[in-house]
């Protein structure tokens, strides 16, 4: 193997920043998805509560159906968003692992060089 080229040790910081950014992006996606999941759980609970009620206490069967449909309509975009966030989170997590592996390898390299 040839002698190492001119090494710029400050580049390690750039790699560390990249790794931290990717981990932060993965965390953010996961946290946002968790928040939306909690919201979906609350909506599901509300749907179950309405289903358990007698139709007449809600003003008739039509009203009961309308309320459930409203809640389902509120939930649908949340489910789509969760799916997107999960995919984004998984991709960011993969990039973070790759950035982390590269950072570790470069860190070891500089350690051996020192």
């Amino acid at each position: 193997m040839e002698a190492p080229h001119a090494i710029d040790r400050s580049r390690l910081l750039t790699l560390e920043n990249r790794k931290d950014l990717e981990f932060a992006a993965a965390r953010k996606s996961n946290e946002t998805a968790s928040g939306l999941r909690r919201e979906c759980t609350a909506i599901n609970r509300e749907i179950e509560r309405i289903k358990s009620l007698e139709a007449r206490t809600l003003g008739g069967a039509g009203e009961k159906t309308r309320q459930i449909e409203n809640l389902l309509a509120r939930r649908a975009p949340l489910v789509d968003q969760i799916r997107e966030l999960d995919a984004e989170g998984a991709a960011a997590s993969e990039r973070a692992q790759a950035a982390s592996a590269l950072f570790d390898s470069c860190n070891r390299f500089l350690g051996n060089e020192a």
Partner: protein, 180 residues
């Protein structure tokens, strides 16, 4: 007037997209080259040593086996004892007997099989292997430096391209001045 501005924005957008795409294509083409070189390197590492080295390995194994088997085989003097003293040796392992007395034939048979392998897959000397690895390592490093150069250009232009986790630290940490 507005149409002109719209058109120039559209042109700019098109050129920007094209630049990003060219940078990504450039990196992908270099990565392909790196994969090819890495495969060639692995192939050189797997090439057999010279035939003589393989034969020496066979001899080494046989010598080791024979030594151990000899120590477990009754010494020839046992069979020359008088009728009163002679006892049939007990607990003699057939494999030890074969190894102790047929070792040269075993070695020859093994070497003949090894020679058959060398007919289709010639070996290289340690020096030749080291030289070929040195050349390919140099080519690999040059390719990785070119890849890093494109990645930094792309980053500066606002088109981040992710680095490979197994990229060579000498390229990733290289000073700007040594990049092509």
């Amino acid at each position: 007037m507005i149409d002109g501005v719209k058109k120039s924005f559209a042109d700019l957008l098109k050129r920007t997209r094209s630049a990003g795409s060219e940078l990504r294509d450039g990196v992908e083409s270099i990565r392909k080259r790196i994969r090819t070189l890495s495969a060639q390197k692995a192939e050189i590492e797997r090439l057999p040593p010279p035939f003589e080295t393989a034969c020496a390995r066979v001899d080494e194994l046989i010598e080791y086996t024979v030594g151990a088997s000899m120590s477990r085989t009754p010494p020839p003097i046992r069979f020359t004892e008088g009728p009163k003293a002679y006892r049939v040796p007990q607990h003699v392992d057939r494999e030890d007997l074969i190894a102790a007395y047929l070792a040269p034939q075993l070695a020859e048979a093994m070497k003949a099989e090894v020679a058959t392998i060398y007919e289709t897959r010639p070996g290289i000397s340690d020096d030749e292997r080291a030289e070929r690895l040195r050349v390919i390592d140099r080519e690999l490093l040059d390719a990785e430096l070119a890849e890093e150069s494109i990645i930094r250009t792309a980053e500066a232009a606002g088109f981040p391209i992710h680095r490979r986790p197994d990229a060579d630290p000498r390229a990733v940490l290289a000073h700007d001045k040594v990049l092509p």
